[in-house]
Symmetry: C2
Subunit: 383 residues, 2 copies
């Protein structure tokens, strides 16, 4: 199989985008990536779109062809791929596979979600959990992650303040990211005194409801310099599944799908966690920022809270996590997140991340999960 490179990326501003329609939002992201890659739309041979639930959010399935039509890309083959909040990661992975295999030369992988057009997005989001065993019993995502957080506190002595620090660091970074939904700093007291959502998680532990889109263009590594002076190479692209329902797991403080996908990614890339200069992790709730660095292997299981408290994950720390602001502060339009993570890592590795630049970043990683970890997609990228 061929090596693959990312030659162009783009992300819309994330937020409550009342003035942009679903199809315009994703087309804007796609055009941005096309421009960034120095190609023409007609060069694209296939499209994968990550989207969790346009059916429930905007009453539209069949979105990949819709987007191709709106963007003037027909008749290229295009598919929506879905694994809840990991849909973007899967879109990137399928695009990479289509190029690595030789099926196509230039492919666009995009992600999009428009979540603010419904009165209450909670029932739609709950469809990422196990409907029969979780959602129908009234369990929502904050409560599922609250159980994971409570158990982590019980097993490892993780503190409420450590959880808060995940959000504080995310907002520190988001304040330097013009595309972030919440580009302002917050402090631990503000998190600790914000509205209770599901004990122990409070409002400022939770990622927001967001609209947004992102896109990435991949091509064979050997061709990448034709289009850009700074191609970013795909060192590994992996994916794993795990049980949707929490009660089916050996432990609810470890996400097995993350462990499997990360191990496989390091093996394929012939790298270790020490080689990673920066990572975008899937911290839809603050506890997940701690689970992720443990499950991927940056710290021992149970030590994630302390690592965050001690500043390990800060922009100037040992392993800067979520320089973009993460799901908490950049925003979390479900299907777009996996692609936005890759876009951030591409900007970091190119040295184009402005005030949030991780100095000297040469190898980066993305970690995108669906639901409470029923799916995990991992990418390792390098200059």
């Amino acid at each position: 199989m061929r090596d693959v490179a990312i030659i162009g990326v783009s992300q819309t501003k994330f937020g409550e985008l009342w003035d942009v329609s679903f199809r315009d939002m994703i087309t804007d992201a796609g055009l941005g990536a096309i421009k960034d890659a120095n190609i023409e739309g007609g060069d694209l041979e296939a499209m994968y779109v990550g989207n969790m639930s346009a059916g429930l959010f905007v009453n539209q399935e069949h979105i990949a062809s819709l987007i191709a039509d709106h963007a003037g890309l027909t008749p290229i083959p295009c598919a929506r791929v879905e694994a809840a909040c990991a849909s973007g990661g899967l879109a990137l992975r399928n695009g990479i596979m289509a190029v690595a295999s030789g099926y196509h030369d230039i492919v666009i992988s995009a992600g999009v979600e428009k979540m603010t057009d419904v009165v209450d997005p909670t029932p739609a989001i709950a469809t990422a959990s196990d409907q029969e065993w979780e959602a129908q019993q009234g369990v929502t995502f904050p409560s599922l992650y609250a159980m994971m957080a409570r158990r982590h506190m019980h097993e490892y002595g993780t503190t409420r303040e450590q959880l808060a620090m995940v959000s504080v660091i995310n907002h520190e970074n988001a304040a330097k990211n013009p595309r972030a939904q919440f580009p302002m700093e917050i402090n631990v007291d503000q998190v600790m005194n914000s509205t209770m959502v599901a004990d122990p998680l409070r409002l400022l532990d939770c990622s927001p409801i967001s609209d947004g889109a992102a896109a990435a263009i991949v091509c064979p590594a050997e061709d990448a310099k034709k289009y850009t002076d700074t191609p970013i190479y795909v060192k590994a692209s992996t994916q794993a599944s795990g049980s949707l329902a929490l009660h089916d797991r050996k432990s609810i403080t470890t996400i097995d799908a993350t462990v499997h996908a990360a191990k496989k990614a390091f093996k394929i890339a012939k790298l270790t966690p020490e080689d990673i200069d920066t990572i975008e992790v899937h911290d839809c709730f603050s506890i997940n920022g701690i689970l992720a660095i443990e499950d991927i292997g940056f710290v021992e299981k149970g030590k994630g809270g302390l690592a965050v408290e001690e500043g390990m994950t800060r922009l100037d720390g040992e392993i800067p996590v979520n320089p973009s602001g993460g799901l908490k502060a950049r925003g979390h339009p479900l299907g777009a997140t996996g692609i936005a993570q890759a876009a951030e890592i591409v900007w970091q590795l190119r040295g184009e991340a402005g005030k949030r630049q991780v100095e000297g970043a040469e190898v980066g990683m993305t970690h995108n999960i669906g639901g409470t970890g029923g799916t995990a997609a991992i990418h390792i990228l390098s200059r």
Copy 2:
């Protein structure tokens, strides 16, 4: 890239399956295919699931990992792919690509839809059309296809009786198919006198609301004889996109995505329509049984109605169409249809189709479309 073979297929009975849950239905289909392929579940390396809208029909997204979990297949990578009613065709194509590329050796491609758990499936089905330009104006699928039928009658003199014959022939075949939703014969008078749905289309011109699932297992062609004496080889797997909304098309009596995907498939397979011994076409409404044989190239544009009237598409005709009973009479659980079509062709080419066997069938084809043709997926299979 490697050649690929189908070594196992399965289909549940299609119908109103009140006593089977979504996850049990698709797991049944998967287990059937595993048994048919003479493999163990643990041999599967990846899964693609075609599904149009479990979100709207059973309030469940994130279905691929859910199924993997329920079937004991975690942590293999698994993805849902969606392009409305062509979702099954895309799942098959992505499974084939994953094997052809060398990413995986044994992959299961499945399709599933449970449509009868909602009071009114019409709004969910309408999300396959262009929401802003069609569905929100009150247009539903019968009315979209009615416009296509009316225009075809106007342009080419296609008659109401010819449309009826598409359904009559489908039911002739379904009567010989134990897995069909409506295994009984009907006559032209019954179609012509059935309830009007959207002029000129009547109830018996329309495919039903169905529950059902199907699965297919693919592996490298060079390994196929290890598992089965009758591997069925994939000669071409193609896909194309077109505009979702009818008003965006040059003509509403030609489905461009079908034309593109079919042309490409014949080119890749180095075959012509004359080489095809039998085909499963996507006749969600009777008019589509006529459009399909024209757009794929079995007959000249405008001559499809006459060909059907003259018996060309009958089981003993020149090109037997839908030996399974087609979408009309086998049933049409949206995401399952593309895989069920492939299963039928596999049975036909193996000579296992019982009373509906097309004598001496050596090369077969499937034609699966999404919406009114925003997506088309074509497969050519051979002994």
